[in-house]
Point group: D2
Chain length 359, copies 4
């Protein structure tokens, strides 16, 4: 019976791999079990954020001392720039190990899947939604999760359009959803999030048309977290959920915040995991934060969307970081931005991983 491990490791900079190196040296982490590494890095989380690439480069260089090149590239590296407010830079290493105990209870399960390469003409369109939905279903099967309600977090790395890829599509006589490479990142995240919603039965494929992708924020998944990366042409999918086929003390649950200060659902999820009591401790919190499109939060105007000095996404991460850190008592939480169709407009999904001490 496999066991999922989640290692939360503080970093002193985007190039700091000393923590993962020590964990490997001590045997706490076995490199060949690593499925994904998520990280919060110091950059601005926007266009000119080089801390993400720097971090991935250094992690790969470190892991290359233990793994063959092909294995290196099978790991999903999901770096999120922006540690605004008191958010603390760290990485989360997701590992699949041979578990030692056998039981009847559900435990944290990790599944993964890769989709085929996405033709550039399909990016940001229904065909991408459909491809991702199929991939998520495969990852759920890989995780051995029986019920869709046991899926709590779906992380997707998706491709984007580059000038080359646009040209390739056009040479073949196709148009692309956009010719703006930056916008293609949002469209790809959007279509991927809707793919999660379809796989989880939150939406039907027939409910969606191309024009809603990236635009109609009333469509969303409660468990999607998507990010676009220039280095891949397909989708890397990691699913976290609960399964009886896995062992170990870890458990995961999730909540959806309706807006940036909607703490009740998060408190309820913390309660369900027994956090705040002696018999459980927090391992990781992963949340999406966004300023929303209305310029208001409940009855009150905010100024995030009108600030030409600080990006709205940076404001949102700092603020939602405060809301959530106040609830869980640590600032080492993974709050990321860019939340198209990932939770409701102005709100967002929150996944929580806990260690059950009595496990």
């Amino acid at each position: 019976m496999p066991e999922a491990k989640v290692h939360r490791i503080a970093t002193t900079g985007p190039d700091d791999v000393s923590g993962i190196a020590s964990a490997i040296a001590s045997g706490a982490i076995s490199p060949d079990g690593i499925v994904a590494i998520l990280g919060k890095t110091e950059g601005n989380g926007c266009v000119n954020d080089f801390t993400r690439a720097f971090s991935v480069h250094m992690l790969k260089a470190e892991l290359s001392r233990h793994l063959p090149h092909t294995a290196l590239d099978e790991i999903a590296y999901v770096m999120s720039g922006g540690t605004e407010g008191a958010l603390s830079p760290h990485i989360l290493v997701l590992e699949r190990t041979a578990g030692q105990e056998i039981g009847d209870e559900q435990s944290l399960a990790i599944g993964r899947a890769l989709t085929p390469a996405l033709p550039p003409k399909d990016l940001g369109r229904l065909a991408q939604v459909e491809m991702v939905a199929a991939g998520v279903r495969a990852a759920i099967r890989d995780a051995g999760i029986d019920a869709l309600s046991d899926v709590h977090f779906v992380q997707i790395k998706c491709p984007l359009l580059t000038s080359d890829r646009i040209q390739r599509a056009e040479t073949e006589g196709h148009s692309t959803a956009t010719r703006d490479t930056l916008k293609s990142m949002g469209l790809s995240r959007a279509a991927s999030a809707l793919g999660v919603a379809v796989a989880l039965g939150e939406l039907q494929l027939s409910d969606i048309d191309d024009t809603q992708i990236g635009r109609d924020m009333s469509l969303w998944s409660s468990r999607a977290s998507t990010s676009a990366g220039v280095e891949l042409e397909n989708h890397e999918i990691v699913v976290l959920g609960m399964s009886r086929q896995w062992s170990g003390p870890l458990a995961v649950d999730h909540a959806v915040m309706a807006d940036a200060i909607d703490v009740a659902p998060v408190k309820a999820a913390l309660d369900r995991l027994n956090l705040g009591r002696d018999d459980a401790s927090l391992v990781a919190l992963l949340a999406k934060a966004e300023p929303g499109t209305s310029g208001r939060l409940r009855d009150s105007r905010h100024t995030m969307l009108d600030d030409s000095d600080i990006s709205a996404t940076r404001h949102a991460r700092a603020f939602v970081g405060g809301v959530l850190a106040g609830l869980v008592g640590t600032t080492e939480i993974f709050v990321s931005g860019g939340a198209e169709h990932q939770g409701p407009d102005g709100g967002g999904p929150v996944a929580i991983i806990a260690r059950r001490n009595g496990g």
Copy 2:
């Protein structure tokens, strides 16, 4: 028996005085009872923040339609720039009215005092601490507050050094605590906060020496909020507390956060005021936020002090704004920065004003 009123009014910009104008027109606010106006404005809260002066200018222009020039200048205008995260721009109008009910219970009391002009040579030194302590005592008497433990918030506007004032001191053969006008703002805020601590019995004057002012962050007041303004040479002091000599449904209490995510003391104060239950509602929350000097929050590193793109004070307001808005369910809260000796290093005082519905 007087009654204290606190009007919280949303603004659409630093120059928006339509809300206070309407309240005066409808009789909800009587201009001659206004003691102080506190405001959160859209600027960066740092050196080149012109929204504070713009707001004060527009408020005075509006009030000049109702009050003689001398009365205008007796009002304390405390503008705090920086509505980071989802913090919402608004003003708080503190008014002293003739109350209509007489009772035995304590109610919100407002007192004020002005000190003599501060000689520039005394700024940032013990003589300023002593002058402020005397002024705070006078304001407490003015408020009719019997016990120091009934004082919950002391707002002070203090002077700063300008090139002219430094020259004046030097011409008279004196040195000043600094020749850097920006630093003088911090020193003046620091000495004023220590003056509050002395008046409230939190510290003894003999415990402090000049070299600790603005430096030794182990010295602090739990109820001070100070800001420096170029337009005055003395101190304007406003005290909020509880007194049997005042009537009305408002009450005030306070808490001290030990760090930016220390929510337990705030929750306790909200509880003491019955907030979160049917019989009370939030009128205002006033808090100080600071990144602290250690670069860490509990066990975790943060990056606020190393960010050359966004001022640490802006990060701190956004983050602490999230922490507190998550607790009270509104973003119309007064979170300000510049917290030398105002609460512990990295933490800060929080004052809460509630309306007792059964009152």
Copy 3:
């Protein structure tokens, strides 16, 4: 014979009107001759820049001591936020006086015109181009300028769409060019600049269609400078040129920079005005700066468009400010952004006003 005067006055902040007040007190400026006031203020020049409104408010308050309310509103106030790099905050007061000398030479001429109110449905469309072209022609006539080649600078303040105006248009059964109020500012500036081009014979109205406005950057005027303001529904037009019907020592000329470092045309214009020699001195330089859309300058990549920390317009003003200040030896120059159809993509028009000492 009228004489045009241009007063360049340094300011110590957006609210500093002491310079213009002194000039009025000394008789150097006669308030009733003021046609326009242009100003560089400290803000970011983007959405949340309150220094422009603060400056206009303070100027009007000062001038209201000398002028009736109706006269106040006839003056065009053109505030440009952003004194990046070493650019120096200042105002330029354009005044029309009764000149004292009569001669045969051309001198600086100022003309102005107001258009009728622009129906919101016409904003950003050909109808606005046509309305502005008519207004510019009227202003040229008002200035007594005979030849279009004697027009060197056309400043236009144009309206923008607000939610109210969009609703008004839609209630009447019309669509608007955009429903995004921020985008409407760019479209209005764009259509106004094309209106100048049509009036000056640089383009034919029949050469332009609606879809090119704000998009086809190959269309541009060499002498337009436009800015949008929420406070007006029509266009305020100020034309500067040379005319034999005006007297006095001032002269104006212009150049077009093909890119941000294209100094040769500016040097040629400075030469034509005899600047850099004993017999002339610089009074004012007005330029438009923009990052351009290509991401490159000549052969080299720049990073302005990818910087999520600093707006591209701020980079461009700082850089072009350096290019031009290096040429003229002062940093008190009026470099503004937002240059749709105002000069070629990545370049911009430059107007120079000189005093002929021998004049």
Copy 4:
């Protein structure tokens, strides 16, 4: 007879080493001749700029394919963050080759030297000035430069204080010049620049005392460029000058700008190198930019020092970048900040390398 080569290579990001890789592959650059690599990277050039380390890391990784580890570390890597305005990211590879021609003329000469490790107690003090002066003299000898007036650019990488190094000094019973690690960077740059001044005879060691280092901006070198790096404990010194012992078409000269718009000395140096004429072309321009301490440029106030949104050093690089790019017609120039004692307050040194086509 050796020949100095300078390769200017555009980069598409801090991690782009494709240009240098191609040049090595084609034989244009011989890795074992590389003395130093200077680079402009996209970061903010301030504390949280990770682009410099990312670039150095990638350059070393690339060069490690051609050079042994020890040779890698002998190269001086001088990365300067901040491509504000239209400044263009690029690297300059300085190479010492076996020259093919022999002549009587002076040519560009490169010399280098390493000092011993600097004891932390000496950093920012006269002992550092003296150590650097000795090192510069050694580098001049290494370059075969006869006269001090033939030295035109001295680049120094100097150490800084870390918490560890401070503790080491204190354990040994010594104090350090500062306990603030950020300030130690400025002090080390300052002492190094003064060391250059002493070596070049611009100042006498006896003219300087400890209290002036980093403070008295009337002391400066016309040819120093210094930067601090955490990775070294000694000084890496690279000298550029003219010598008859070197061959080849390259020549170097320098100028000192008295303020940010002081273009005359730069024009004179360009003239001396015959730039702007057919028989010479620009290879590289290296300049230091700083906002100065007065808040004014000539007669005019600037706002760089009061801007809490954008660092003054970023403003200065953008602006001076414009001034210099306007002169030389390219934006691929090396404008860096942090100019303590490197040129006069508010001004800075400029070094220019030209290729003599008729050479």
